[in-house]
C-alpha cells in the first residue's frame, strides 16, 4: 500500500482539471479537424481535397468549401495534400445541440478573383 502512495506523490496528480484550469499540454497533439487558409485555396485544390476525404466531410458547393465537422475523423489526409493551405485547427470541443452548427463554410479564394 505504501509503495503506491509514494509513487503517486512522486508523480503528482495526473487528473485533468477540465473544464477548469489551463488546458493540459497533451491536448495540442489530439487529432482535430482541419482549418483552411481561404486565400491559398484554389478551386482545383478544393475539389482534390473533397475527393481525398475518406469520410465525405468536404464538399465544394457555390464557390465554397463546405466542411462537415460531424463527419470529420481527424485523419489528416487533407492537411497532407493541401500543403500550406490546410493545417490542424486544434479544436476538439465540438459538441453541439444543433447538428447544423457543425457545418462550416470556407470561401474558395480562387473564386473571389
Amino acid at each position: 500500500m505504501a509503495f503506491w502512495f509514494y509513487r503517486g506523490l512522486r508523480r503528482g496528480i495526473v487528473t485533468t482539471r477540465y473544464p477548469r484550469g489551463r488546458p493540459d499540454a497533451w491536448t495540442a497533439d489530439l487529432p482535430t479537424p482541419p482549418a483552411f487558409h481561404s486565400s491559398r485555396l484554389t478551386d482545383g485544390l478544393a475539389r482534390g481535397l473533397a475527393e481525398a476525404c475518406p469520410a465525405g466531410a468536404l464538399l465544394v458547393e457555390n464557390d465554397e468549401l463546405v466542411v462537415d465537422l460531424g463527419r470529420c475523423t481527424g485523419c489528416g489526409r487533407c492537411a497532407e495534400l493541401g500543403g500550406d493551405a490546410v493545417e490542424r485547427s486544434g479544436e476538439f470541443e465540438l459538441a453541439t445541440a444543433e447538428r447544423a452548427r457543425l457545418i462550416k463554410r470556407v470561401p474558395i479564394a480562387g473564386a473571389r478573383r
Partner: protein, 169 residues
Amino acid sequence: MDDGTFTDGVDRVAEELARRTAMFGRSLHIRTVDTGSCAVCESEIRLMAAPHYDLHRLGFFFTPAPRHADLLLVTGPAVRAADTLLLKAIDATPDPKVVIAVGACALGGIYQEDELIHGSVDRVVRVDVSVPGCPPSPLALLQGLLVAVGRLQERAQAITLDLDAETNR
C-alpha cells in the same frame, strides 16, 4: 440567442439535469448503446473513468441498466439490425433523458445509407447532442456531457475554420 445556447426542448432537460448535478445530491447515470460501431468510441467512453479524466469527479456514473440511466451515449452508424435494440433501450429509459450521438459514424460520416445501415443515428431516434470525432477524445466527450447537462456553453457556433477570415477583417 445564437451564441451557443439551446433550443427550447433540450433547454428544459438541460436545466433539470444541471440542477441535479449542481446540487451533487444526485449523480447522473450514463448508459452506452452500440448500434454497430467498431468499439473504439466505446473504448474512449470507458476511458473517461480512468484517473486521467475521471468523470466521477463531475458526478457522472456508468450503469448497465437503461432503467437507471439519465443519458444515453449512442455510437455506431445505426445498423438496421440494431433497430430493435436502440428503440427498446430508448423506450426503457425513463424521462427526462438526453440522447447523445457520439462519433463520426453516428453523425453520418464514413458510412452512407444503404439496405444494411441507416447511416446516422438521427435517422432512427431524436438526438439531443452530437459529439463529433473518430473517436472523440475523452476530453471532447466530457465537454459533450457537460454541454448536455447545461454546465458548459457550446462552442461549436463560434468555431470558424477560415484562418484568413480574422486576419482579413
